[in-house]
């Protein structure tokens, strides 16, 4: 029975909602909005890289003062774009947009709960995120520009406005914004964990949880343990910036002025930052993998292969993710023995990752695949995970990292695992659960065009980057034309920019499809994908408390697809066992 029937006003339904489904959509829309901004930023700086110093019409999108006299982009504003692009995509889109949307939407529905443990705290988690967004975007309009020290904001560059203008007000706003963001994230994560542990419906044991929920649970635990360290890291930076302390600063002369700071170490910052930074990329990846497990199983009409191994792999990846952070710091002059330890743990993490890939392949083997747009993206995720994961073996090996660290090789790697793999997972999730979210279907043909266009363009952008990296080209360079040794790479840069712009335009198809379908899409049926999980037992129109009557009772795991002896090729989780049927 629903908790209580309160009168819904516009405000309580759409703005300050405590309903997890509405909050999920708030995260999704905000995430999509930020994704467009982040993507436009990358289009702009890619244009600069293809035509260094020249004017482009895309620059009209920038705030005043970002261009120099001849119409070209200012070098420090190039770095501002790169910084904000990274910040927005890593945190706003792939963390909040991905986890925030799908954890909020799916957890109560897939475990058979009315809502999250605390709808109020859930609502707060979105509004902290919203305010963080406003603060971050406001930094685009300050005179000295937004933060420009890379999304990794290493001090002293990020501590000293004299080192780069964006490290002034822009960086302060960045820090406030991230603090609000992390608080919002933590409030969400708390809810996800406690809800999964306590509010599962009768019969929903942990062993019967869909893999999506496992992935979201483990992601939330990762976040709860690692995000706070970013706050401590940022707090010490705040003190160095605003109160003259020397946690990270020492022996500095900037703009001719000798600073008083002594005894600080920027490497301390790097340790604290990457202690979050590495788990963060798994916070980004694991929900995508969880979504993909679900989408592949449903659309293959077979169980996900190796459910227990998949859960084990998730747990092992999560555990290992805490002890590999030093691989971002191989070239800091750390004790070589420490470097060896991090190489060892980093290459170990390849093992559970490989296990997941093999299990996905085994799921597809002898399947009866239905190519919904979601399924296309799920397959894309696996492809990108293979490609990007393998280059991780090069980067994780400290000796090899000497020559590829901070080059385009690493840019290619992390874009393929995050910008392809994780984003494809997010697209798969949107296409797959859109009918549940909005009661309508997204247009299938537009979905096909979106996938194939994106798939081609994305590999076109990021695969060539490996060659740029092996040619020695560093990242975060305003232009590659200052060193004769890179002159031969100009063509590659142009090819990359071409695919980047084409890929950006293709995304318009998705945006159109998404919003058009919300209003004018064909109405869906209750279970359009013939899926086993509990969310599809709720009414199409969606109500508070999710189920109009009693909560469903679970009798089986989520993967009875094409089970021999059953009437259909799927059996929902709340269907009682047949006479003589054994539970898997």
């Amino acid at each position: 029975m629903s908790d209580h029937h309160h009168k819904e006003t516009f405000i309580t339904k759409y703005i300050f909602s405590t309903d997890h489904k509405m909050i999920a959509k708030q995260f999704l829309i905000t995430g999509m909005f930020m994704a467009i901004i982040g993507m436009l930023m990358s289009a702009i700086f890619r244009v600069q890289l293809a035509n260094p110093g020249e004017y482009s019409i895309l620059y009209e999108l920038l705030p005043g003062g970002w261009l120099n006299e001849d119409g070209g982009l200012n070098p420090d504003k190039y770095l501002a774009l790169v910084t904000m692009h990274g910040t927005i995509l890593v945190f706003w889109v792939l963390t909040a947009g991905l986890s925030g949307t799908f954890a909020n939407f799916l957890i109560p529905l897939q475990i058979g709960a009315r809502d999250m443990a605390s709808g109020f705290i859930n609502m707060l988690s979105y509004w902290f995120f919203f305010i963080a967004t406003v603060v971050l975007l406001s930094s685009l309009f300050v005179e000295s520009g937004p933060a420009s020290g890379g999304w990794t904001i290493y001090p002293p560059l990020s501590a000293l406005p004299q080192a780069i203008p964006g490290s002034g007000t822009g960086m302060t706003l960045w820090l406030y914004s991230i603090t609000l963001f992390v608080v919002g994230s933590l409030l969400g994560g708390l809810n996800y964990i406690v809800t999964i542990l306590n509010l599962r419906t009768k019969g929903m044991s942990m062993q019967r949880l869909p893999l999506t929920v496992w992935a979201l649970l483990i992601t939330a635990i990762l976040g709860v343990l690692s995000f706070p360290v970013l706050l401590s890291c940022g707090l010490l930076l705040l003190f160095d910036r605003s109160f003259g302390t020397s946690f990270y600063l020492s022996d500095i002369i900037i703009n001719g002025e000798a600073l008083h700071n002594v005894g600080g170490s920027p490497i301390l910052f790097e340790h604290l930052f990457w202690f979050l930074g590495h788990p963060e990329v798994y916070i980004i990846l694991l929900p995508a993998l969880g979504i993909v497990s679900e989408v592949i199983a449903v659309n293959s009409r077979k169980p996900i292969f190796g459910y227990k191994a998949m859960v084990g792999a998730l747990l092992l990846i999560a555990f290992l993710s805490f002890i590999v952070w030093g691989h971002h710091m191989f070239m800091t002059g750390m004790n070589p023995f420490l470097g060896s330890v991090f190489t060892f743990t980093t290459l170990l993490i390849a093992i559970p990752s490989a296990v997941k890939v093999f299990n996905y392949l085994a799921t597809l083997w002898r399947a009866n695949i239905r190519f919904t747009p979601a399924m296309l993206f799920a397959i894309g995720t696996v492809s990108a995970f293979i490609t990007g994961g393998l280059t991780g073996l090069i980067l994780g090996d400290s000796a090899l990292d000497i020559n590829v660290h901070d080059t385009y090789f690493v840019v290619g790697h992390f874009h393929i695992v995050m910008g392809l793999s994780a984003i494809y997972g997010m697209f798969a999730g949107v296409y797959h659960w859109f009918p549940k979210m909005y009661g309508k279907m997204m247009n299938k043909t537009l979905g096909y065009v979106h996938f194939w266009g994106t798939f081609i363009c994305a590999y076109g952008v990021f695969f060539p980057m490996h060659f740029l990296g092996l040619a020695g080209l560093p990242r975060r360079y305003y232009t590659n034309s200052s060193f004769p040794m890179f002159d031969g790479l100009a063509d590659i840069n142009e090819i990359i920019t071409f695919f980047a712009l084409a890929g950006a335009i293709v995304q318009a198809i998705f945006i159109f499809n998404f919003f058009y379908s919300i209003f004018k899409g064909t109405k869906t049926t209750a279970n359009p994908w013939k899926s086993n999980t509990l969310e599809w037992t709720t009414p199409i129109e969606r109500i508070h408390g999710n189920w109009p009557g009693e909560l469903p009772v679970v009798t089986r795991w989520a993967y009875d697809y094409s089970k021999p002896g059953m009437d259909e090729d799927f059996v929902m989780q709340n269907v009682p066992l047949k006479e003589g049927e054994k539970e898997h």
């Binding site: 900037i254 009409r301 077979k302 000796a399 096909y448 064909t522």
Partner: protein
């Protein structure tokens, strides 16, 4: 004006898209089929596209490897660098094998098992033996790779420095300066508080070893002789990247880092192999501000004779910094 036209084009494109979708929907209403349910035809089309992806995608990869191979860095010009190159070859071969095995498998399965009405999937939920196999085999391969990698790393990080020429590389926004330790092969002490006027590196001239130090704006190295580069930074984190030597090390204000190596090919040799325009160069490889993209210093590797000639023609700090 152009902006207006572009905006118009975009709006019209969207309008066209809307109409297309509407027409599609209306058509389906007439034919009474659900436009958004996936048909065998859809599965066939996408399955074939995945099949095509195999030669196209892999072909694209191979094309890049072939076309751009000449743009990659030439073989390493240092002792440890040659070892790194070997490790890289082995590692790359390994990942390429895995990539070329798994990627077609994925897309081939997508094609072969494309859905058809009337087909049933095979209910195969797990197989513990398989899990063990594909856990143990990668573990063994990775263990071997790790051991090889760690040996190479250890050798790169712990070279024999007993005979190494010591040179300080000093980074600041936005250039590099080198300081040779001179005859005594000991660098004089320095402090950021001593930076003043011509003493751009803050060398403590009262420290005995400083007087024979030599400050230059390009670095000459004798071939086949070990050198130890010591790094400092004046302002923010920079990173000394010498890609041809496979050398990279962060330059951190407040800390001192180092990297020792032995160059094995002279600049002359490289010019013969790579073209007259070739130069060894030091780049900055850690975001450090607006001109990060243009911090460079030339490195020249030459015969010991030429090196000695050059270094003896340089002036020591005793001459350049002390008032005469």
């Amino acid at each position: 004006m152009t902006n207006l036209l572009i905006a118009l084009v975009v709006i019209l494109a969207i309008a066209a898209l809307v109409q297309l979708v509407r027409v599609n929907e209306l058509l389906s209403e007439i034919t009474n089929e659900d436009t958004n349910s996936v048909t065998d035809d859809d599965n066939n089309k996408n399955g074939i596209l995945f099949l095509l992806t195999i030669p196209l995608f892999l072909g694209f990869v191979v094309w890049q490897m072939v076309t751009w191979d000449h743009l990659l860095l030439p073989p390493a010009s240092s002792v440890h660098g040659a070892e790194i190159d070997s490790l890289m070859k082995v590692s790359m071969t390994l990942i390429l094998i895995v990539f070329f095995a798994l990627t077609p498998m994925l897309f081939f399965f997508a094609y072969k098992y494309r859905g058809k009405k009337g087909n049933t999937a095979y209910f195969f939920s797990h197989n513990n033996k398989l899990e063990v196999v594909w856990t143990v085999v990668p573990t063994i391969i990775l263990t071997a790779l790790i051991i090889y990698g760690l040996r190479t790393w250890d050798r790169a990080m712990n070279p024999d420095l007993s005979q190494a020429t010591v040179i300080e590389v000093y980074s600041k926004q936005f250039d590099w300066t080198a300081r040779y330790a001179g005859e005594d092969n000991v660098l004089g002490q320095s402090s950021y508080l001593l930076v003043k006027g011509k003493n751009t590196l803050g060398v403590d001239m009262l420290d005995e070893p400083s007087s024979d130090d030599i400050v230059t704006r390009e670095v000459h190295l004798p071939v086949n002789k070990p050198v130890l580069l010591k790094f400092r930074s004046r302002d923010v984190i920079h990173s000394a990247f010498l890609p041809h030597f496979r050398v990279q090390m962060n330059c951190v204000p407040g800390l001192s880092t180092q990297f020792g190596f032995t160059p094995t090919k002279t600049t002359e040799q490289m010019k013969l192999e790579e073209g007259e325009d070739f130069e060894y160069v030091l780049l900055c490889n850690k975001i450090c501000g607006a001109a990060h993209f243009n911090m460079q210093m030339k490195f020249i590797v030459e015969s010991e004779e030429d090196y000695n000639k050059w270094i003896s023609s340089q002036q020591s700090l005793e001459t350049t910094l002390t008032l005469k």
